[in-house]
Symmetry: none
Subunit: 191 residues, 2 copies
DNA sequence: ATGACTATAATTAGTTT
DNA sequence: TAAACTAATTATAGTCA
């Protein structure tokens, strides 16, 4: 067998695929994982390059939630929902109809559960909550170290590319991200 | 000038760019338009190929909203928001303590088992919840893995990378699309 | 602003380990 | 089960019509 044939056999490269539901469950799962990462990366690049606010929410076929947001999912969705349901000086009739048809009453008025009112906490509660977050951060850090064998550079690039993993992350999204991390890393022994 | 040089001048091809805010306003605008389309196309392909539910919301730097959703933005955001903020028939967030949560069967069946009002927790409850959170990691993940794939309704042919521009558009998304159109055409007097 | 073009960068389907 | 690999496909920065 000549070298060309050998190389051919080793890897046929990417094949053009039709955009329709992938039949084989295993392939579908792998594809979902790869493309979800790709989608979030694209979303991140768009927000950074163009200064845009982007939110992406994905449910896997199994019902697992994934999300990306810059500056945060909470921020973008709030803006979006207020846009389509809130009163507007210039778009009043249209938005009124929109609010009626979409029936966003629950959607808009219900407070997000992560709107934790820090001011209402006592000192002890605040300290405890802070401790709680720090401990959770340790878990996530360990998980990341165990799960990610990438070069530090690549890891840092990835972290930079995903704003919800940055230290500047708001409290609300940090917690969401943390839960996502935990659910994504079942094999990690916490603390 | 020889042909090679001419060809060079005509198109230098794509250049590698650093992921940071594009300084020149015009370039940023063009990039936004192109990449927004690319993002929505990726989102569409992900939902079709893998039977996933995907929503993406983008605000341009000028504040114009764009969105993509399969089966609809409304559907995905409702699912997302209800899962993270919605009440449970059996779990009362304000009064549920961790002991009750631990023993609750539904907990492992719901992907959003963290449907808990942290704000209402005292120190002890927070600590207990932390412990519970970590202990239940494996259980929850296993439960998630056991979830059966839903009938992939998303397999149905998607009209386009931008379904909200289609006539078959659902009522809710039609209004969202309408709003988008209106905001894209400030010169047109919105009804 | 909008679309077409081109060459390069980036993504990813299939394979191997 | 997952990670690395390879190469074909896809996305897109820059340019021009």
């Amino acid at each position: 067998m000549n070298p060309v044939e050998v190389k051919k056999r080793i890897c046929e490269g990417r094949k053009k695929i039709e955009i329709k539901l992938i039949e084989k469950e295993e392939n579908r799962q792998v594809c979902f994982s790869k493309r979800r990462q790709g989608l979030f990366k694209k979303a991140s690049e768009l927000s950074i390059l163009c200064g845009a606010e982007v939110a992406a929410v994905v449910f896997s076929p199994a019902g697992k939630p994934y999300f990306f947001g810059n500056p945060s999912v909470d921020h973008v969705l709030r803006r979006f929902l207020s846009n389509i349901s809130g009163p507007s000086d210039t778009l009043s009739p249209a938005t009124t109809n929109c609010a009626e048809l979409v029936n966003h009453d629950q959607l808009v008025q219900k407070p997000f559960w992560w709107d934790i009112d820090l001011h209402s906490m006592g000192v002890d509660e605040l300290r405890e909550y802070e401790k709680f977050l720090l401990e959770q951060q340790t878990v996530v850090t360990q998980a990341a170290q165990q799960c990610c064998f990438e070069a530090p550079e690549a890891a840092m690039e990835q972290i930079d590319a995903l704003p919800h993993t940055s230290p500047e992350l708001g409290e609300a999204d940090y917690f969401l991200w943390l839960l996502q991390e935990i659910m994504d890393s079942p094999d990690i022994d916490p603390i």
